[in-house]
């Protein structure tokens, strides 16, 4: 029996080696035909393309490696605030789905069904269209609050500038001072967080409704009000059950940030795509993308594992 197992595994290994050799061989000759060199040396050469926006100061003459770093930073810049917003909105909508009030419940249900049954890409395209086509031009920007202006060229906010705290003011054809969030960034942030929020809301609702009904009834029998029973008895237990699926939804949000390529927000995947088109080094560029995402997945798995262990050890809040 053991001998047969070893024979089978040797066979698999041999097949794998053959397949690997064939792939390497054909790939090498394909690359040679097209005159594409291979290797990661291009990462240190000038990128040769500009980025629409970047936290890292970036110019076309900077290295490709820096472009990838700027892309990753752009992914994180939209995914991290997006995750926070998604949890906040998701919790509110999830509570709405569980409310006794039929109006609140109906509104939350309409939100969840409306958002979840349409592809994320369509959400992003719609937000991008609204933000770039339907809004007024920068010279007649909508004042949302003192110092906050929304227009086709994005959202202007008060922020620290070279001269300290700056409040944007309309000036001629545009708006001066403060910080600017581009329409691409806003469309990504709104689309990603609302989409993930709908899934988080459903997870929370499911987790609360999956609790045995006796829990609520005993809490009521002990003299708690319905709201106390919800916040003190049901929620702490449901939260623990919902934690793993919510983590995986937040991980999905990170992966979905790659849809940025469709509306021209320079995230990691879209930077890799541009660099791939410039240099032809498909293997290397995609290897970077895969490595980064696998690393992020591992990190998230470790984080969620740690959270779960802490949640199980600590006394219920």
């Amino acid at each position: 029996m053991t001998r047969r197992r070893i024979a089978w595994q040797a066979l698999i290994l041999a097949g794998l080696a053959l397949l690997g050799w064939l792939l390497v061989d054909t790939t090498a000759s394909r690359l040679q035909e097209r005159g594409i060199r291979s290797g990661f040396d291009f990462l240190l050469e000038p990128a040769g393309f500009a980025l629409g926006e970047s936290l890292l100061p970036f110019e076309a003459s900077d290295s490709t490696l820096r472009a990838f770093a700027a892309g990753l930073l752009n992914t994180l810049r939209v995914a991290l605030p997006g995750a926070v917003l998604a949890v906040l909105i998701g919790v509110i909508v999830g509570f709405g789905r569980l409310a006794d009030n039929p109006l609140v419940r109906g509104l939350a249900t309409a939100f969840v069904n409306g958002v979840r049954n349409v592809p994320l890409l369509l959400h992003l395209l719609a937000w991008y269209f609204i933000l770039t086509d339907l809004l007024p031009a920068a010279d007649s920007a909508l004042p949302l609050a003192p110092g906050v202006f929304l227009s086709k060229s994005g959202l202007a906010l008060p922020w620290w500038g070279e001269a300290g705290w700056e409040v944007p003011v309309p000036a001629g054809f545009g708006i001066d001072g403060g910080a600017r969030l581009t329409p691409e960034y806003l469309a990504m942030l709104i689309g990603l967080s609302l989409y993930a929020a709908a899934y988080i809301a459903e997870t929370l609702r499911g987790a609360v409704q999956a609790l045995p009904p006796g829990q609520r009834l005993s809490a009521l029998a002990l003299g708690m009000t319905p709201r106390q029973a919800f916040t003190l008895v049901l929620l702490p237990q449901a939260w623990r059950a919902a934690l793993p699926p919510v983590t995986s939804q937040l991980l999905n949000l990170f992966k979905n940030a790659s849809l940025a390529v469709a509306i021209g927000y320079p995230d990691l995947v879209s930077v890799a795509g541009t660099s791939l088109n410039q240099t032809g080094r498909a293997i290397e560029c995609l290897a970077v993308v895969i490595a980064v995402y696998l690393l992020l997945s591992l990190l998230a798995a470790a984080l969620s594992h740690g959270l779960e262990r802490r949640g199980l050890r600590g006394a219920p809040a």
Binding site: R5, L125, A282
Partner: protein, 342 residues
């Protein structure tokens, strides 16, 4: 009694009263203008001059009539339009039969898997007097349905094989398959599509050119199979061991036990989860527009982005597409619920 209950839930305490009043006020403020825009002031004829005269005070549903063929069928040759329509009808019909029809038992999954395989030659042509149509020209709704249907049909057998492989006693096989599943589940679909678009052509020997559609389909199948294999593996793990012992006591071989006892029950148990994966895949097919295949979402962009006259009415055409996706998801969700009952 009913009214009293309603009053208590709507206006029972300060918080609920505030929320109810806010929602009612918002509805009163928002609904009349919305009705005005969508119906009362809207134009339904494909007349661009009349639509422009509205200045967005009313919807221009004419854009849907004007661009319907392009949005629904993409660049498929116009005089062959019956073929993509029939292909879309076949797949939609199999979904409708699964959701509402009398199909039961084995015929149901068979119909769901066969319909996309029949739609393929119908779209491709090149036999029995049907002119052959290159895959670059396929598009719109038939392509969306085909990628979903054929993607699931291809991913299911691979998913089953991978799920069994990961329970094998061979550590090398287990390790390899685990690596594949974790890799596929770790990367975004966009990255997988980039691999299909840029990397896969390098793997084929000289002179072998595989169309983008087939490369994308390979990527989708391998991507979805990783998720399906996890669902099926979960089903296998939850299967009661007593039944396997009972089968072997009755003289079933291990192979027969899996084939006749375990797999049919496991597939039935996880069928709702499989259908949920089909919903996810149905929505995810919209991403293939990123590698220039013009399914429903891509066809929308193709139809409007180059047309300065009609482009201002993007939102109306968008709502039309969104409604199609919404109906598709609702249909698949119904299939999922029906699988759950069976």
């Amino acid at each position: 009694m009913r009214l009293a209950h309603l009053r208590r839930t709507l206006f029972g305490d300060a918080l609920n009263t505030t929320l109810s009043l806010l929602i009612l006020a918002a509805a009163v403020l928002a609904l009349p203008p919305l009705l005005d825009w969508a119906v009362l002031k809207a134009r339904f004829a494909p007349d661009v001059v009349a639509c422009e005269a509205l200045e967005h005070a009313g919807a221009c549903w004419g854009v849907v009539a004007e661009k319907a063929r392009f949005i629904l069928l993409g660049r498929y040759p116009a005089d062959e339009a019956w073929r993509p329509l029939l292909a879309a009808g076949l797949i939609t019909g199999s979904w409708l039969a699964a959701a509402y029809g009398g199909l039961r038992g084995r015929a149901l999954p068979l119909a769901l898997l066969l319909a996309p395989l029949l739609a393929l030659p119908l779209l491709a042509g090149g036999f029995a007097g049907l002119g052959s149509v290159p895959t670059e020209l396929w598009g719109g709704l038939p392509l969306t349905l085909l990628l979903t249907g054929a993607g699931m049909a291809g991913a299911l057998p691979i998913g089953i094989a991978v799920a069994y492989g990961r329970r094998s006693s061979l550590p090398l096989l287990r390790g390899l398959l685990t690596a594949y599943v974790e890799l596929a589940r770790g990367i975004p679909l966009v990255a997988a599509l980039f691999i299909a678009s840029f990397l896969l052509p390098l793997f084929f020997p000289q002179g072998v050119a595989v169309d983008m559609l087939w490369r994308v389909l390979i990527a989708i199948v391998l991507f979805a199979a990783a998720y399906l294999s996890e669902i099926i593996r979960g089903g296998l793990q939850a299967f009661p061991a007593g039944q396997i012992d009972a089968a072997s006591a009755l003289g079933f071989s291990p192979w027969q036990t899996q084939r006749w006892i375990v797999l049919p029950q496991v597939l039935r148990n996880v069928a709702p989860s499989l259908a949920n994966s089909a919903i996810a895949l149905f929505k995810d097919t919209s991403l293939v527009t990123i590698v220039s295949l013009y399914e429903l979402t891509g066809a929308l962009g193709l139809a409007l982005s180059g047309d300065a006259q009609w482009r201002p009415f993007y939102l109306e055409a968008w709502l039309f597409i969104a409604a199609i996706y919404w109906l598709g998801c609702a249909l698949l969700a119904r299939i999922s619920r029906r699988f759950g009952q069976a």
